[in-house]
Symmetry: C2
Subunit: 333 residues, 2 copies
DNA sequence: CTGTTAGCGCATTCAC
DNA sequence: GTGAATGCGCTAACAG
């Protein structure tokens, strides 16, 4: 590892002062065309790369942003992260990515590590933190945008999915097909969006003058296996169910599997609706009826919000709400 | 934004020197239990967080690693990235994530930005850079590990998939089931892994004393639709085929569709084997026999390699070859 | 066991 | 237009 070329090296080789090199590098005024050119040539020749670390120490801005998601191997978040990175890259920022693995302690750990790295801001997706904890976290970072998580009473920017409306539409769709016994696979109990979707589920039931029966709802981990297990358990106790509204598409696919194992035909014996519209939804058999959530837009809007906050509009908080759209496929025609 | 607590603040409040605080923070020897405790209390009380930026400047190690992938919204890479982050987190490192979007120029741009951030090392996945460009990039970073990319002639660490063996095993499985007319949907002609898998296909045929017939192979775009079209075309000209080995699972799913359309039962009239074992593979009907590429393992092994390199074993280069494993399901029992 | 002296590489005052 | 100090927050030698 040959030691790095520094600004001082460039200055010496170009016969100018540190200051002049700094000006050229940062494209500031105050440097004649001639010296500017000369300096640039030396930079090229020596292969000089400014150190963001040193610059960060001096300016207190690192050009880095943190993105924390529950699980990057989940399509939803991987696409949000990709969108966020895309926008950040265009603004000359790099992003740290952290996976909480649905573990609040780990989430806090990641947020702390980002703080130590002195990120300029954080995009926090689907936080599982308790309100108070989250409130504390806000103080750790100069800017923060929540995605898919609300925090009442604090002026914090957020990009939200209208989960309640989504859940209501999905459930309503099932009810309108004549189903009276609609179960709910609710996802993680700590999930904010889960609770919102549950609210939509209840609202639709109420609208149809049906009473909400807690026994027909069951929480589960938000993956295929979680959905499969929960569906099996739920259907074992409540064979009367003829339809299932699921927290997300992965859970719905798990439910699909469970039905196959239990010999219940979808959609004949059991209608199923998911949430998100991940790529898999269109490819499973039967294809999945679901609520489409525009993932790329979610991620890019959130990152745009964050960048605007980082670039001066620090105090301002804005909330963007994105409404999901029902996509009808074979699992619940 | 209240200004940050610094080490000096802690030192003053605890009535000790900077050095002592530094020692406590970094858990180094040389600090009596008593002062250690006192300092720790002050740190807690003041909410002090050490600055990785300042530390990085002083130590020339930032505790950050770069991970560059073509597209984080692709299951393959999002899982690799997650695995990498997982391992890095356990080693107290944060990762920058960059998406090249399959664009070499952008790939270079990301690698440069990582250099400016002074990452301790880079995990470069499926690089699209030309050999010479890649060789140049090696000099930008103190450590680098390639994933799914080879670079002949240079001592660079890499984690590779043994596509040839995978292709051979898949084909052999079909041959051992009694098939003598095994077709091959080859994927994109330009794909390196495609050529490797083709080599495995040929090797298996040879081993069974069958001659390779180019007419039984057909290239296609590596998606469902590509597989469907190629399968239709191939079977139209060669109805004698009783089995298909496919470039990847998406192509195989396309072939499945084609068979359904042509009225050929899978696996009775036609056996099909895919590659990758994406989540979809287990979920289609019939479920897909395929070569599993262990994505998590790929990412974690690569990150482990990178970390070992970062932690002293700088010069050493190691190549890890991960062998895919045949997963037998319904499409080719 | 503890404190003092120097930088790490750069940007930000100010002078000239 | 350009340059000389000074400091960002921390750690690595050295002293005591």
């Amino acid at each position: 590892m040959p030691k790095r070329v520094t600004m001082a090296d460039v200055a010496r080789a170009a016969g100018v002062s540190l200051m002049t090199v700094s000006r050229v590098v940062n494209d500031k005024g105050g440097a004649s065309k001639a010296t500017r050119r000369r300096v640039q040539d030396v930079i090229e020749r020596l292969g000089y790369r400014p150190s963001s670390i040193a610059r960060g120490l001096a300016t207190k801005r690192t050009g880095t942003l943190g993105v924390v998601v529950p699980d990057n191997s989940n399509t939803f978040f991987s696409e949000v992260a990709r969108a966020a990175e895309h926008i950040a890259y265009a603004a000359n920022h790099n992003i740290f990515l952290g996976n909480t693995e649905e573990d609040p302690q780990r989430e806090v750990g990641i947020l702390r590590s980002f703080e130590e790295k002195r990120v300029d801001g954080v995009l926090l997706c689907s936080s599982r933190l308790a309100d108070d904890t989250l409130r504390a976290v806000l103080a750790w970072h100069p800017a923060i945008v929540l995605l898919n998580r609300r925090l009442e009473g604090d002026p914090v920017s957020a990009v939200l999915i209208d989960d309640e409306t989504g859940g209501q539409r999905a459930t309503k769709h099932l009810l309108q097909s004549g189903h009276r016994a609609v179960g709910f696979l609710a996802g993680p109990p700590a999930s904010y969006s889960g609770r919102q979707r549950a609210a939509g589920y209840c609202a639709a039931l109420e609208e149809a003058r049906l009473t909400y029966d807690p026994a027909w709802a069951r929480s589960c981990s938000p993956e295929i296996e979680g959905g499969r297990e929960a569906a099996r358990a739920l259907l074992a106790h409540h064979p009367e169910l003829t339809a299932l509204f699921c927290y997300n598409d992965l859970v719905a696919v798990g439910a699909l599997k469970a039905c196959a194992e239990l010999g219940r035909q979808v959609p004949e014996d059991m209608a199923i609706v998911g949430f998100d519209d991940i790529p898999l939804a269109a490819l499973v058999t039967p294809s999945l009826t679901t609520c489409r959530v525009p993932r790329y837009e979610l991620g890019s809007r959130a990152m745009e919000l964050l960048l605007s906050q980082v670039n001066g509009h620090a105090g301002e908080s804005r909330v963007v709400v994105v409404r999901p759209e029902l996509v009808v496929r074979a699992s619940a025609p």
